[in-house]
């Protein structure tokens, strides 16, 4: 646990990718297989489900430190992270205790907590905390509250494991796809040399698109690219092997059971077929996707009822073929994979279609067509190089995403509360309102989009213009106006405005506008009506 906590602290303190890979490589090279397996598990983002709720942990921390509960809560508001707050409140422990291994801590200390009653949980936690220094405590508490996160992506971790085990990155990436079970055996299999293993249920690493940041003219001739609509659904691979079907999300979550209509259709695929595409909630009457909010109703259900399947039918819009007749064809050019995809999918039926191509002779023509993206229920275009293989991860130049500009409104800052992480102790979680009948009604909350300097300035404003406080939330004088960008809008009971926006973020601070100049609820409703 000491070594893993030290790794966490070092990764946290490092801002260079090379340093991070080196730190990870060093850790994996030295760790026992069991520990390496668990470290990999949590570093890849498969953190154990939350074991203790925030309120429960605060109560235990108050009891253990002898502090009143409100003071633990006030500390939490300042620190912004409960795991760290509790580690700091517990203070520096005896440093001479022997370190327990990461695997033992997780398997014998952390996971069993789930089965204990409140009283035994507290006894167990006291004993566990007594074995750790502040950093170990912090890491343990993060695992405990399900909030473990450190700034390394799975690509970086994969590279480090590849280096530590002296294997090609591709081999490790592929072996890591799908369900990873944190055991010494799994680690040993992962890092052993040689291949020839069965691909099993695993998907391939997803090819990711880069946003177009300059002009489309810089890409080259439109004829060198396939252009498709950019769907706003769940990116997924459908794996058909050994007479079984596995549906994997881009987040490498197995979605089996959730979308029975797709699995039913997949039984008609030849053995040894892997498709890449998008799961969409679909309106079979208009041949258009339903809003993402409808799909969300399906995502939440592990086994959907007949009723919800009828209300929100889904389809799989395929756009790539990665394996055919048991052969990995990712190295074939996009054009050729596309042709073979069309042959494979055409025969299937309505729950599976091929993402249509958009034909145009020039970028200008495409730009004009792209204006219709939102009314088609899409986010813009995907632009894929015809002669490129299927890349692992984000390889610039193979796939591009060309999204339509977001919707935007001008809204007034009405309330703020302290953020977490690197924004802890600063008022950075904002609530915004628009005008309706002379008062501001809440339309959105947003956390991002300002520069550090702007964040500090808004923080100062909030502190000096507080009109009321509710716990950590401060109501402020309605004076600052911000342009909010968002991807979509839908009716909702969450806010008083009766509307909710999707992916709201601050586009810019409208210092040129007075609160009275901000948008009204009526103008925002017009945006709703303009959507499909």
């Amino acid at each position: 646990m000491k070594a893993f906590a030290a790794l966490f602290a070092a990764l946290d303190a490092s801002s260079s990718t090379n340093d991070k890979v080196a730190l990870l490589e060093e850790y994996f090279g030295a760790a026992e297989p069991r520990d390496a397996a668990w470290a990999l598990h949590v570093l890849m983002g498969n953190r154990p489900r939350r074991i203790l709720s925030g309120p429960a942990l605060r109560v235990i921390a108050a009891a253990e430190t002898g502090l009143p509960l409100w003071l633990v809560e006030a500390s939490h508001h300042q620190v912004g992270d409960l795991a760290e707050t509790v580690a700091l409140l517990l203070g520096e422990r005896d440093k001479n205790v022997d370190s327990v291994s990461l695997a033992d801590i997780i398997e014998q200390r952390l996971l069993p907590l789930r089965r204990l009653d409140e009283h035994s949980q507290r006894d167990s936690l006291r004993a566990t905390w007594a074995m750790m220094n502040t950093t170990e405590c912090l890491v343990f508490n993060k695992l405990l509250t399900g909030a473990f996160r450190v700034g390394v992506g799975s690509g970086l971790v994969t590279r480090a494991v590849a280096r530590a085990s002296n294997q090609p990155v591709d081999v490790i990436a592929y072996r890591l796809m799908g369900a990873w079970e944190p055991s010494a055996e799994a680690w040993t299999r992962l890092v052993e040399h040689g291949d020839g293993e069965s691909p099993g249920t695993r998907p391939f690493p997803f090819c990711l698109a880069a946003p177009i940041d300059g002009s489309t003219d810089d890409l080259g001739a439109p004829a060198d690219f396939l252009v498709e609509w950019k769907w706003d659904g769940i990116r997924a691979q459908v794996v058909r092997r050994d007479n079984g079907t596995w549906v994997w999300s881009r987040g490498e979550e197995m979605l089996n059971g959730r979308f029975p209509e797709i699995e039913a259709m997949a039984t008609r695929l030849n053995d040894g077929t892997v498709l890449d595409g998008e799961i969409l909630a679909w309106d079979h009457a208009t041949h258009q996707p339903l809003p993402f909010a409808s799909l969300q109703r399906r995502i939440q259900r592990k086994t959907p009822s007949r009723r919800i399947i009828n209300e929100v039918p889904v389809v799989f819009v395929a756009y790539d073929l990665l394996e055919a007749d048991g052969v990995d064809i990712r190295n074939l050019p996009m054009d050729e994979r596309r042709q073979r995809l069309e042959t494979v999918v055409e025969s299937l039926g309505s729950a599976m279609t091929v993402s249509p191509l958009v034909d145009a002779d020039s970028w200008n023509e495409l730009a004009a067509v792209r204006e219709n993206a939102r009314s088609m229920g899409t986010e813009g275009f995907m632009i894929k190089r015809r002669d490129a293989p299927y890349a692992r991860g984000r390889v610039r130049g193979t796939w591009w995403k060309w999204k339509v500009d977001p919707l935007s409104i001008d809204a007034v800052l009405t309330a703020a509360q302290p953020g977490s992480g690197r924004r802890a102790g600063l008022y950075t979680d904002y609530t915004f309102g628009v005008w309706h009948a002379g008062v501001l009604v809440t339309i959105a909350k947003a956390y991002s989009g300002l520069t550090d300097a702007e964040i500090r300035e808004v923080d100062r404003f909030v502190r000096r213009h507080t009109t009321d406080r509710f716990g950590p939330v401060r109501m402020v004088e309605p004076r600052l106006v911000f342009e909010l960008a968002f991807e979509g809008i839908r009716p909702s009971k969450r806010h008083k405005s009766g509307l909710a926006v999707r992916f709201p973020r601050i586009a810019r601070w409208r210092t040129d506008k007075l609160a009275a100049d901000a948008d009204t609820l009526e103008t925002v409703r017009q945006l709703l009506d303009a959507q499909p």
Binding site: A13, A74, S75, Q78, E84, G421, D452
Partner: protein, 312 residues
Amino acid sequence: MDRAVITHAHSDHLSQGSAAYLVAAPGQAIAAARLGGRSVESIAYGERTEINGVRVSLHPAGHVLGSAQVRVEHRGEVWVISGDYKTEPDPTCASFEVQRAHVFVTECTFGLPVYCWPDHTEVVRDIHQWITANRAAGTTSVLFGYSLGKAQRLLSMLDGLDIPIWTHGAVEGMTALYRAGGIHLPPTTPVASAMAQTDWSAGVVVAPPSAATSPWMHRFGDVSTAFASGWMHVRGARRRRNADRGFVVSDHADWPALVATIRATGAERVLATHGFTDVLARYLNELGLDAGVVPTRWEGEQDNEPAVGDSP
């Protein structure tokens, strides 16, 4: 004000515009410099003076050189205003001396129980290890701390490393006043007067936080930066600083020291100011003390690092 009694020369405790200033003797030169060279009266620590029939004396606060608690006594009632203070030993200023008081006005910059400072010798060791690793990697170590007080304490922590120490002009100016006040500090060279072709990575640079984002930094090439502040105790604040390291070096009392000091004064009434005032007052009330809050103009930014510049 006709007459201002000054606890110390940080800009949130000393401002222009008063007719007369009174400070503790070891802080006289610094206060005068901060006020642009005007004259400042001083008395020795513990020496009593009378202002409008009120007995006034200044006592060491352990915050920076010359920092003082203000003790006022009238008809047998004693009030002590702490100013900023710390109780940890610090070779660059006189140690905090507890004063018995009926009413104690206390700062509470770090008035939350999460602020409990690590062992100072470990922090010194960490700073030394960071510099050693940077030197081995050919990277320049740049250590940021406020030019009055923090920077000199950092210099004292670097004493014994026996490597070149370069200073930013703002730091060097204050450091000269410390030396003139009889404080021993390791030798320093202003960055501005270093030789051309200096190998900065062989030593360490001490600069105020405001220099971190200035073009002044360009000359050092490949750098590793570190901030020294009590706020660095919390990960979010460390990450926000965008520095390579954050060292927990504070010139303020941590939570245990605040509570212990308040108890040691024997005060029946405690007034919290500058910091987490509501939190401290509520906690003290629950302990059975009569506690309240003194609002100040600076309260708004106390639970955050000062945004820019080189004050406290």
